[in-house]
């Protein structure tokens, strides 16, 4: 499920460089008030970030995805807002019953209320997606960025290590690695995704840092006596981070799908953690959905809509941040 080559552009350093030049003329980076530079119809030049934000606010895809994600985050933090029952209190007497008043999605095999479980399932998906993405982004950009900046032997080692990790398809790795762990929580799955996911971001971050490193303003900063830390934090980070953000946003949706796939294969989250993947797996085993399709359809729909929301967000962010595609 990797993005095909050539669709995420590392060439974002270009306009970012212009932003940094403007910023070094005595303005803070975040400050909106930058010197005018006759670009576009507006009087004031906008940085890459405010330009992207300007685009995003007008993109209907972003608005729809954003509202959906806001809703998902809220119900994963406080599921009791819209589901009053306990997802783990089930009674076998109701096994596979179809929808009744107050139980709009019916009951599953164990006699649990499907609606409640669908609502509570959002929590593990969002938690795994967000935590894994943060972990992958931080670890990947740290290792990739530093290797790109310092070069030499560390860069060579990192390139070989990423090659090795790229040799393992991620679902295959999950099946082998996670089946060896005894009990798995959200954190085990997050740790696994970070372990196998960071090389993807590291590669992007390394390329991005290498592009930014060639800019004249870095030579100027060095000539003015800037140390490595200052160069990295003030000059490289703000200019090289855009491709990493794009990659990470798109990856978020994929990680949610990955967690569900792993749970479906029986090597992801385990009960009592409620997960859409495990519920779909339970519904499919022995084709129990034969006479009660609702136990398959509702968790599947919830999962698909969630992944769709995050992938739409990633698409919108990429369109906004990658000027090549405009």
């Amino acid at each position: 499920m990797t993005e095909p080559p050539g669709m995420s552009g590392p060439a974002i350093g270009g306009p970012g460089g212009a932003m940094e030049l403007a910023a070094t003329e005595g303005e803070t980076l975040e400050g909106g008030a930058q010197p005018p530079a006759g670009r576009g119809p507006e009087a004031r030049a906008r940085s890459l970030w405010s330009d992207a934000w300007h685009d995003l606010r007008r993109n209907p895809v972003f608005i729809v995805a954003g509202l959906l994600i806001l809703f998902l985050v809220v119900i994963s933090l406080w599921p009791s807002l819209i589901a009053t029952r306990d997802p783990l209190s089930c009674s076998l007497g109701h096994s596979l019953d179809s929808a009744t008043h107050g139980h709009w999605f019916g009951y599953d095999t164990q006699g649990c209320d499907v609606y409640t479980r669908v609502v509570y399932g959002a929590r593990s998906s969002v938690a795994v997606g967000v935590c894994a993405t943060l972990g992958v982004a931080v670890l990947g950009s740290l290792l990739g960025g530093l290797a790109g900046f310092f070069g030499g032997v560390w860069d060579a080692i990192l390139s070989r290590v990423t090659d090795i990790f790229f040799g393992i398809p991620i679902v295959l790795g999950g099946l082998v690695f996670l089946s060896m762990t005894g009990s798995r929580s959200v954190w085990t799955v997050v740790a696994f995704i970070v372990l196998l996911g960071w090389p993807q971001v590291a590669r992007i971050a390394r390329g991005s840092v290498l592009t930014v490193k060639q800019n004249d303003y870095l030579l100027a900063a060095r000539a003015l006596g800037a140390g490595n830390t200052r160069m990295l934090v003030r000059h490289i980070l703000p200019n090289a981070v855009a491709p990493v953000i794009v990659t990470a946003t798109i990856a978020l949706g994929n990680y949610i799908a990955l967690e569900a796939t792993l749970s479906y294969l029986g090597v992801g989250l385990q009960p009592p953690t409620v997960s859409w993947g495990s519920d779909i797996s339970a519904a499919s085993s022995g084709m129990q959905f034969r006479n009660a399709p609702h136990i398959l359809v509702y968790p599947a729909a919830a999962l698909s809509i969630t992944v769709l929301a995050f992938i739409m967000l990633g698409d919108a962010v990429r369109d906004a941040l990658d000027p090549k595609l405009r």
């Binding site: 090659d163 040799g167 295959l172 399709p293 992938i311």
Partner: protein, 307 residues
């Protein structure tokens, strides 16, 4: 070109060793295959020791790995714990999975490229926007969801197909599983073809071809499409490896007894030689597919020279 191939093959060696060692350590150092063999009962210490000795499990892990690596170069992947040679399992499983992957690739090429060409030539029209949204939806629905829903609707509710594939897995029973396996990549192929086509449609050589009076169809097929398909072909190449791994899920849903099925059995029963053997071959397929893509790139685009 020859020197480039040799260099790439040499570069593959450390990656192959690193990847397989990682898998080997996970399977042999973390799990205990001999205990797993005995299930819930505690094994007789003497038998356990004899088994450990037979499978080289009493030696340090790096040494075990070297012994294993030495053996697989002679084509000996060891025996599964029931005594059946792993190569025998492979001989049964790989043709089935290859057939499944081939069906998927055909779907990707035929449907993916067709949709990509249609949308790429009609950018901004309703058909373009519609297909683009559709690809986004297809990418978002995980394979196991599409598979389970297709199995329920086509296999159970409407009864168009058999919901489970028979052990011999003939080609006609693999059509639906192949389509399910292909769907996500198919959407990527569509988007990639569309982007590439739209980018090249503005190229000078297209304008020249139109200006010299070639019919529209010929410009599209001979000039535009030929150049636009280069990134698509490379994507399809890398996808071969992905499809073999993706078959894990598809085979589970439709009960196809291919690589994913054997790997799954191996993992559930902690049958370590099976797991490591199959994963080793899959990694090799993955690496070779990537190499093939790089070489193909040079053949398709004469501007690229590797020497």
């Amino acid at each position: 070109m020859g020197r480039y191939v040799v260099r790439r093959l040499l570069q593959m060696i450390p990656v192959f060793i690193g990847t397989t060692f990682l898998i080997f350590v996970m399977v042999y150092a973390v799990g205990d295959p001999v205990n797993a063999l005995f299930g819930d009962r505690a094994p007789d210490p003497a038998t356990a020791a004899a088994l450990r000795h037979e499978f080289n499990l009493d030696k340090p892990v790096p040494q075990q790995y070297l012994l294993y690596l030495g053996k697989i170069f002679t084509g000996d992947f060891g025996n599964a714990f029931n005594g059946q040679p792993v190569t025998e399992l492979m001989a049964n499983a790989f043709p089935i999975t290859l057939r499944l992957a081939a069906v998927a690739i055909v779907f990707e090429i035929v449907i993916g490229i067709t949709l990509g060409v249609i949308t790429g030539l009609r950018r901004g029209r309703p058909v373009d926007t519609g297909v683009l949204m559709l690809t986004l939806v297809v990418i978002s629905v995980p394979t196991f969801v599409t598979g389970s829903l297709a199995q329920y609707l086509l296999g159970v509710k409407w009864g168009w197909i058999r919901p489970a594939v028979s052990p011999e897995a003939p080609l006609d029973e693999l059509i639906l599983p192949g389509l399910v396996l292909a769907l996500v990549s198919l959407a990527y192929v569509t988007r990639l073809t569309r982007t590439s086509l739209a980018e090249n449609a503005r190229a000078d050589y297209v304008r020249t071809a139109v200006a010299k009076g070639l019919p529209r169809r010929r410009v599209t097929v001979r000039h535009l499409l030929r150049n636009s398909l280069i990134p698509v072909v490379t994507f399809l190449g890398t996808d071969v490896g992905q499809l073999m791994a993706g078959a894990l899920v598809t085979e589970r849903i439709f009960n196809i007894q291919g690589v994913g099925f054997q790997l799954w059995q191996g993992i559930v029963r902690q049958n370590s030689p099976t797991v490591v053997g199959f994963v080793t071959i899959l990694v090799l397929v993955f690496l070779l597919a990537n190499l093939l893509v790089d070489l193909l790139y040079a053949v398709l685009d004469p501007r690229i020279r590797y020497d």
